[in-house]
Symmetry: C2
Subunit: 359 residues, 2 copies
């Protein structure tokens, strides 16, 4: 089968590899129909050596597809069901899953990428492959409800497993409440999804900060009440001007390099919350003294998203027409063009925000 | 009158200074009966130059006393009322006070010490003085209820304005809920108060970590279910042994140097909260990468305490006999011996935990 594999910095290829098989009675086998390329895939693309990735590692962790086979112990998904996976597999029953923190599942892991490692035994396929063995299928997979299961809504369903739930997690962590002013830093897919999520929590003012007018236009159509192109104006000053000089009640920060974190901590009001969703702090020094936040009682919430915890609710919201996750996709390429998709996203070519690959 | 003044590193003296006068119609004049020496006073004692403190600065920010005079606009405290002050004065009506964040009051400041500066106009006396002009008296002062106002309970009332409310704030920020396991790092007065506060929120297991058996004994009598003397055992390992290897649901960290913060972030479970109450991060480098907390969804809550927000509730708890703040005081000296009190606390002599000075 075809599978997208990382071979070195900047080098992703679609290789021919053996098809996966069910290895455990709790596994399911899914035929991927559509997979996403994620901003974090770009981190893996460009920093694989730092992360000690082995050349040939299968990549991708966002996919929808059709169940091809299930192990003897799988009670939920049936063969033929259309399903969507969160980017982390999880058993759904452990200490952490019971508390809604599926990203810390004691028997879980991540598809493809080296984070969490393949705890489930045997090799874990990446999501950008024709077939994927899904460990802990009952805990992991979400069966797409009938109204969304004809295949035409895959681009709306796909983000629920990663970028949309991540934006939502950021808003949850930033404790956004009705009437709040929230600033979303970053106009990538996660930032746009966070804008939509902020509308769900009743934010009165949603300030979307980015560097690209076309992306910020998607922010506006997603519910942002104000957009700031930080190439043209000082974002912190603009946020303060909109908030009587105090700063936003909550800041959702999706980049997480030193500059962006500094901006977030400066743009939030005293007593506010900053949620940290980006991964750049893994790849460069971050200097954020506690002293800057102590006197102002600013709480900081770094956190990878426990997507599975949110996906049932998000699916209801999608069925109800309350969210439009699919707006983040600008391109949909054949799986065999995955490398082109990576390049396009990495270089921000052709107005790309997020690229899907399809079988 | 007598007033405790800072003159240089390690040099505090009780000087003769002019008595304060009412300067604004919102002022009150309080005759101090008992004042506390705070752990933060020791930071000022030893780091005054770094903080650009001016020699002669009046110090102290914890006091109870009797109202001697009030300005024309003061509607609450009356002459003769026995009152307790929070360590930050605040108007009680601004944007932040309305949200319970009196430490960020837009017209507030701190008694004596250079933090926040004297915004109220004129010089602000320290709390370790015979008389103190209290700006924003209506927003600031708490009238001690009759059952606690005969003077014999001053040592129980005094901590409500600083160390007890600070410990309580730490527990609030760490989101302690019934059934939780909470670790309190530090066996100073704030740590002991945090132990008592954790009992109020229904923590099932309260692990008190310190370096002094005598202080940890106060922790035990305050409600700690386990004590760890970190001189004799590894605190993180001991906490993990008590929590199935996962770590505590919440950690209240009262020291906040690099070692203690590292310990806190290591001793908390995934998805847990760390509240940061100590001030050591102001005086030494702290290296706490976000990466350490991101994959584990650990939220961090640095925060100076908005004591005034909690004092009404804490006074009810004190009247009801549910808290015993006074246990933190080991010594009560005459005001004229304040310098000796500082030395005693700074060097941890004579089993001192916290020292009061009285007129």
């Amino acid at each position: 089968m075809k599978a997208t594999c990382w071979h070195g910095t900047g080098d992703v290829r679609v290789d021919d590899v053996p098809e996966p098989q069910l290895l455990k009675p709790t596994d399911a086998l899914v035929r991927m129909t559509k997979a996403g390329i994620c901003g974090s895939d770009l981190h893996f693309l460009n920093n694989g050596e730092d992360l000690e990735m082995v050349p040939g590692t299968r990549v991708g962790h966002e996919f929808v597809g059709v169940v091809e086979a299930v192990g003897a112990d799988v009670r939920g998904p049936r063969v033929g069901d259309r399903v969507v996976a969160p980017f982390v597999f999880s058993d759904g029953t452990c200490f952490y899953c019971r508390r809604g923190l599926h990203s810390s599942c004691e028997h879980g892991g991540i598809f493809g990428t080296p984070f969490w490692g393949p705890h489930a035994g045997g090799e874990i396929e990446g999501g950008q492959s024709e077939f994927i063995r899904v460990p802990e299928a009952d805990g992991t997979l979400v069966v797409i409800p009938e109204s969304l299961a004809d295949g035409t809504r895959d681009l709306d369903v796909l983000p629920l497993g990663d970028v949309f739930s991540t934006g939502y997690h950021g808003v949850v962590n930033a404790r956004v409440r009705p009437g709040d002013t929230v600033a979303i830093l970053g106009d990538g897919a996660v930032g746009i999804c966070a804008v939509q999520a902020a509308t769900l929590f009743g934010a009165a003012t949603i300030i979307h900060v980015g560097h690209h007018d076309d992306r910020l236009a998607v922010g506006t159509s997603s519910g942002a009440t104000h957009v700031i192109n930080a190439k043209r104006e000082d974002a912190v000053e603009a946020i303060q001007n909109l908030t009587h000089g105090r700063g936003a009640d909550a800041v959702v920060e999706t980049i997480s390099n030193n500059d962006s974190l500094t901006r977030a901590l400066t743009a939030v009001r005293d007593g506010g919350a900053v949620s940290v969703l980006g991964m750049s702090h893994f790849f460069g020094p971050v200097d954020q003294p506690y002293s800057a936040t102590f006197m102002r009682n600013i709480s900081i919430h770094p956190g990878v998203c426990p997507s599975r915890a949110y996906m049932d609710s998000l699916m209801h919201l999608l069925e109800a027409g309350k969210i439009r996750p699919g707006v983040v996709f600008t391109h949909d390429l054949p799986l065999t063009d995955a490398a082109r998709g990576y390049t396009m996203m990495d270089r921000r070519e052709e107005g790309s925000i997020k690229v899907a690959v399809s079988t």
